[in-house]
């Protein structure tokens, strides 16, 4: 994986929208998906946010489809276990296992929640660079140490990742990873050299921070202000999904 989702977030079409607003939409959507008793709400959330990511944030749809398939495999596998274990009226029998109507429904609900939840997660990941989330984390009152550590880790992930990719391709050029045995020892060499390199970098990082008068503070970026138009669109989305959710819950109860 050469590009992380964060790399796309820096160039997306919703870059100028307040990160607080985007986080709020994402968090609300996740909650709505988990709270929903039927697949309809998560699927609606997924449709809205996928459209926003592809049409407004202008993330290439091929990329989007490609990454949304990653969690689906886990969701399908786990949801089928849940489905087969659930009690209820049997509609299909597979040897020792049996599938009930309620089980099938629960499985579908779980898959849809994963799709909806993942769309919400991607909405945050693809439109809001991590660099803008740090200031929110700090204003949420998270411990200073945790925020600072997160910021430093963020930066060094990219430095070490590039190094790991280069070492990995150097190993491939010299026929590493062509057999299982070779793969395991190649991987262990990669890990060990990366660890040594990381440690040396840590020592140089300390010197660099000291050279710049480090006294225990890390700067955070500024927040974008919330624009009225964005607020209106967000409010419409949140109210519609909430109304839909309430309607579904009420009809389920009735």
């Amino acid at each position: 994986m050469h590009r992380l989702l964060d790399d796309h977030a820096h160039d997306n079409g919703l870059r100028d929208v307040s990160p607080k607003l985007k986080l709020a939409i994402g968090a609300f959507s996740i909650m709505a998906c988990i709270a929903s008793p039927t697949p309809a709400v998560p699927l609606a959330v997924s449709a809205c946010l996928s459209a926003a990511v592809i049409l407004l944030a202008r993330i290439p749809w091929r990329l989007y489809i490609g990454i949304i398939a990653i969690p689906l495999s886990f969701a399908l596998l786990s949801a089928s276990v849940v489905a087969l274990l659930s009690p209820g009226e049997e509609i299909m029998s597979l040897g020792a296992l049996s599938l009930s109507r309620e089980g099938l429904w629960l499985g579908m609900l779980l898959v849809s929640r994963t799709i909806g939840g993942t769309s919400s997660l991607f909405f945050i990941a693809l439109t809001t660079p991590m660099t803008e989330i740090f200031s929110i984390l700090r204003s949420m009152g998270l411990p200073e140490t945790l925020v600072e550590l997160s910021m430093l880790i963020y930066r060094y992930i990219f430095v070490l990742l590039e190094e790991a990719m280069l070492v990995h391709s150097a190993q491939e050029m010299r026929m590493g990873y062509t057999s299982i045995r070779g793969s395991i020892s190649s991987f262990a060499m990669l890990a060990s050299v990366l660890f040594i390199r990381a440690w040396e970098r840590g020592e140089r990082l300390m010197v660099a921070m000291d050279s710049r008068c480090y006294s225990g503070r890390m700067p955070v970026g500024d927040d974008h202000s919330v624009r009225p138009a964005h607020l209106v669109v967000s409010a419409i989305y949140i109210l519609s999904i909430t109304a839909f959710l309430l309607a579904v819950i009420r009809s389920g109860l009735a």
């Binding site: 660099t131 910021m151 430093l152 930066r155 000291d210 710049r212 006294s215 700067p219 955070v220 970026g221």
Partner: protein, 395 residues
């Protein structure tokens, strides 16, 4: 000039017993441009890390403004505010998530008020010409841009001394020249600049003072001409002679040239030596126009260009280059501008230098000193001053 940094009998021995510096004594003058040259492993980086107290001598003393350096955290903080170090690998230096946050790191830790931090960061960003990259993470920048951010992160603390370890390593020639020109500009405005390099061409051309190191020793210090005068010493330090000097020496060896007091520092000097040896002269030299871009509307530059008065155009300094690129001026020279224009003038062609502020006088002084050295008359026309009325009329 007075000494700003000094080393007296400094030794440094690493944990494994390997001596990185052996009895080094050195004096760095305030306001000078110093280049440490030497092979890999000569101790250059170790010496640089002594200058801001990152490394502490095993024996001997480091002096800052005549005072022995102290290593308690308060004194170190003061020294690091005054002596800024830019590391060879920019990735080691840029650790904050965005360009802006990285540059703000120093001022924030120095406890500047918020408003001052913002102002300083904005100033540093525009000085290195990276305004539009302020919210980018460093891993989305090119090598040259990273180096600029690293320099900005130091400049923003307003150090008196700027120390750079191999500032041009891994940069292409034009980017290297741009970085070196930025250092020239900073030096011009009063900062002492110390670099390490094994690029002899760079050191020979750029430095006021060269310190040749090898095996932890300072082998020789002095003007570039003095340090590079002895080819044996240079070769032993696994370096080579600057090309101009090597050609000059070959020509001496063949009797084409006769030894002169001052060895040629650049191609301009060399050409002058060759021409005077060949007994040439008489060609009417070209003119050099210097235009202060901060006081001249770009339309005026276009007028000069379309008038056919100049053949070549060059820009000096970050601001001039930015304006040139905004105005789509096609530059003939973007680095080593004064030298190239003098060469053209000697060859009978006129040229225009666009620059700004204090750089105008600097360029003029350099042209005058060349002209004097070669005993020729180069007409220098400084634009807004001479044409200030015309300028007003044009508006």
């Amino acid at each position: 000039m007075s000494e700003i940094l000094g080393l007296r009998d400094v030794c440094y021995i690493y944990g494994d017993g390997h001596a990185a510096l052996r009895n080094v004594t050195l004096s760095i003058e305030s306001g000078s441009k110093v280049a440490l040259v030497g092979p890999n492993g000569a101790g250059k980086s170790t010496l640089l890390l002594m200058l801001n107290g990152t490394l502490r001598p095993s024996s001997g003393t480091v002096l800052f403004k005549g005072e022995p350096m102290r290593y308690d955290s308060r004194s170190l903080r003061d020294i690091r505010k005054s002596v800024g170090v830019v590391f060879q690998n920019s990735d080691d230096q840029l650790f904050a998530p965005t360009v802006e946050q990285d540059i703000a790191f120093g001022p924030l830790n120095l406890g500047y008020p918020r408003e001052k931090i913002e102002r300083y960061v904005g100033y540093a960003l525009s000085y290195v010409g990276l305004d539009e990259h302020r919210n980018r993470p460093p891993h989305h920048l090119s090598g040259g841009e990273k180096k600029r951010v690293a320099i900005a992160g130091i400049l923003v603390m307003e150090p008196e001394v700027l120390v750079l370890d191999e500032p041009t390593s891994n940069l292409d020639p034009a980017t290297s020249e741009e970085i070196m020109e930025m250092l020239d500009e900073l030096n011009l405005y009063g900062k002492t600049v110390v670099i390490s390099t094994h690029d002899v061409e760079l050191a020979y051309r750029w430095a006021d003072e060269v310190v040749l190191m090898d095996g932890g020793n300072v082998v020789r210090t002095g003007t570039p001409e003095r340090v590079f005068a002895d080819p044996d010493v240079v070769r032993k330090a696994r370096l080579k002679l600057p090309a101009v000097l090597e050609i000059y020496r070959e020509m001496l060896g063949r009797g084409i040239l006769v030894p002169v007091d001052e060895m040629p520092r650049n191609i301009v000097d060399l050409m002058h030596l060759i021409e005077s040896a060949a007994g040439r002269s008489g060609r009417k030299p070209g003119r050099i126009y210097i235009c202060d871009i901060s006081a001249t509307p770009p339309s005026r530059i276009r007028d000069i260009l379309s008038s056919g008065a100049v053949r070549y155009i060059g820009a000096m300094g970050t601001k001039a280059k930015m304006i040139a690129s905004e105005e789509l001026l096609e530059l003939d020279f973007s680095y080593g501008v004064v030298d190239k224009c003098v060469l053209k003038a000697i060859a009978g062609k006129s040229s225009l230098i666009i620059t700004s502020g204090g750089m105008v006088e600097h360029a003029e002084r350099r042209i005058r000193s060349y002209a004097e050295e070669f005993g020729i008359e180069i007409e220098v026309i400084i634009l807004p001053r001479a044409h200030v009325s015309t300028l007003a009329d044009n508006r």
